[in-house]
Symmetry: C2
Subunit: 205 residues, 2 copies
Amino acid sequence: MGAEGQQSGQWADVTPDAARRLVTAAVEAFAERGYHATTTRDIAGRAGMSPAALYIHYKTKEELLYRISIVGHRLALDILRRARDSAGSPADRLSEAVRCFVRWHAEHHTTARVVQYELGALAEEHYAEIVALRRDTDAAVRAIVEDGVAAGEFDTPDVPGTTLAVLSLCIDVARWFNAEGKRTPDEVGELYADLALRMVGYAKK
Amino acid sequence: MGAEGQQSGQWADVTPDAARRLVTAAVEAFAERGYHATTTRDIAGRAGMSPAALYIHYKTKEELLYRISIVGHRLALDILRRARDSAGSPADRLSEAVRCFVRWHAEHHTTARVVQYELGALAEEHYAEIVALRRDTDAAVRAIVEDGVAAGEFDTPDVPGTTLAVLSLCIDVARWFNAEGKRTPDEVGELYADLALRMVGYAKK
DNA sequence: CCCCGGGGTGAGCGGGCGCTTAGGAAGTCG
DNA sequence: CGACTTCCTAAGCGCCCGCTCACCCCGGGG
């Protein structure tokens, strides 16, 4: 059940091999049961190692969560920034941003679940670092919406509120998306891109 | 910081007094740290009692979560059903449903957080019961959207998908809403009611 | 007056937790 | 070959968890 294909692609640059196996095992376990309900013995077991092996590669269980969180947030931020800086009208860029962001949350919903819902378990200092990344995420989307309003393409009375809502909608995909369900990540991305345009009051031609 | 005013209103019919204090203490603790990170000693302490007192009123810590979950889900379902069955056009009813549902998630965001994000910690049988309630929740909103489409008031290509998205948007309010933030529950409800109408393609007159 | 039962406590049980430590197998280089 | 490094394990420490049990306090009925 664990195997999820391209899942491992995100962690390709984690070395050595044992450290990568541990981080992917941790993602699966945290996503399934939550950080606090996951034991270090469980993570090590999934990675095919003894409990003590975890501490050769990571100082604490929390460090594993932190690494996962950082990588995931940076990836998500990259996706949104790439869309923000792409060519095309604000509508094109918002549509692209939501489509890719949602597709990532659906495809990698195990990673995304950990990234979006286990923040509270981070140590104070690590949490602060993550919060900064999340502010950048918000800023990237807001920039697109503001562009659309300035260009007269969007009719958005409350830009910060609507930005928050669009992001919230996308993030929540990680909570409900089920790989065995009837919707593919591409389909959800397409649907959500359309919904986001509706939310910002984009008038179709 | 714990005091949240009308918070306790939801638990008014829990007796005796000690059982009510325990359930409200559990809501606060679960919302703050999550079910698994909360100890029975913490719950009892917040309620001003010894750890053993908890077990006079509840068989296990999980039973507390289950009670909270049931009460919260029934309340949420009532809110949506009342809106579904109210007088007015589908647009009025969807707007009312989202406004009230969101307001509840914002006002009682501690309860809502537990209700929406700690499901996974429930025992198998309790989980199944809750899932049934959640299906009813979805059905209530979908009924309104279908009415709007049938009446030609909404332009909604994907009714189940859009229903899911509207509910997902509302539920996620419990995750990000902060009582110290700058938006009141009423304001968020108003904004979200408008966004939901946009999502279903309601043409303003 | 005593007794009784429901709400409460202090002490503590068995167990699983995060993490550590002493040491061993396998490769590599002089 | 022996010394060193890298990666790993078996065993287990100290702690705190969910939960239990023997006992206590106190208001009300005979």
